[in-house]
């Protein structure tokens, strides 16, 4: 089970909240202080993309963010409910009226994520997509009693 789960209405003003929560949980999980900026940016990009996909497809369901603390890593999953084009299909059809600039921003967001995060997995199907990103954690220093 995720350490913290977040569901928010697909509105741009909530993306900042997701960034703040993700960074706070990542810090607690032991993600290096120097990497927190990357976590913040990457989760923001993933949420921005999900919000855009929901809005352009007219989906009222919330965007889902799972913050998962594991033994040696911290993972973030951002899920959307937008129908993505299946491989081999025409990619432009799935966006439902999105214009070129939306598509470019969507791709730019993914470009930033893949440039920032070494361990990233993007999956998409007819019923939604998921971006999973992971960062290594350092165990907290043992406190001397």
């Amino acid at each position: 089970m995720a350490t913290v789960e977040l569901r928010f209405s697909a509105l741009p003003e909530h993306v900042r909240t997701a960034r703040l929560v993700a960074a706070a949980v990542a810090r607690r999980a032991g993600v290096d202080e120097a990497v927190l900026d990357e976590v913040r940016l990457a989760v923001g990009e993933a949420c921005t993309r999900a919000v855009g996909l929901h809005q352009s497809a007219g989906i009222t369901e919330p965007v889902r963010v799972s913050l998962i603390e594991e033994e040696k890593q911290f993972s973030i999953e951002v899920g959307d409910d937008a129908p993505h084009a299946v491989p081999g299909g025409k990619s432009s059809g799935a966006r439902g009226g999105a214009d070129d600039s939306d598509v470019e921003e969507d791709e730019m967001g993914l470009a930033v994520i893949s440039g920032l995060v070494d361990d990233v997995e993007v999956t998409a199907g007819e019923h939604g997509g998921l971006i999973r990103m992971s960062w290594p954690t350092t165990p907290p220093a043992v406190l001397v009693p």
Partner: protein, 113 residues
């Protein structure tokens, strides 16, 4: 934190001082500001990003859009930024090749090439 914007004229340049967070929520305000400046005939812009705490791809998109607009009038769009975490985003997207990035407003205003 929200986005703060202020503009001033230095010689033939218009300096846009940006502060706060540029993201999917606030980027439209920056876009409006840049569009308004260009529509009013300001084609040589310097965007001072020293007060920016956060920039994402939506913000990058707005800056690229601004560059496209000023170039249509043979203008220029220069950035002022010394913050490593902001510069990194320009680097990983290859946009350091697209935008002239300066270390101070004075340097950006004086630049001519």
């Amino acid at each position: 934190m929200d986005l703060s914007l202020s503009t001033r004229t230095v010689g033939d340049r218009t300096v846009v001082e940006v502060g706060g967070e540029i993201d999917v929520y606030t980027a439209p305000k920056l876009r409006e500001q840049l569009v308004e400046l260009v529509n009013d005939g300001n084609f040589h812009l310097v965007v001072d990003m020293e007060g920016v705490d956060f920039l994402d791809s939506t913000g990058l998109g707005v800056l690229v859009g601004g560059l496209k607009r000023v170039r249509a009038h043979e203008g220029s769009l220069r950035l002022v930024c010394n913050q490593e975490r902001i510069l990194k985003i320009f680097r990983i997207t290859g946009l350091t090749k697209v935008f002239p990035i300066h270390t101070s407003v004075e340097e950006a205003v004086a630049a001519t090439d």
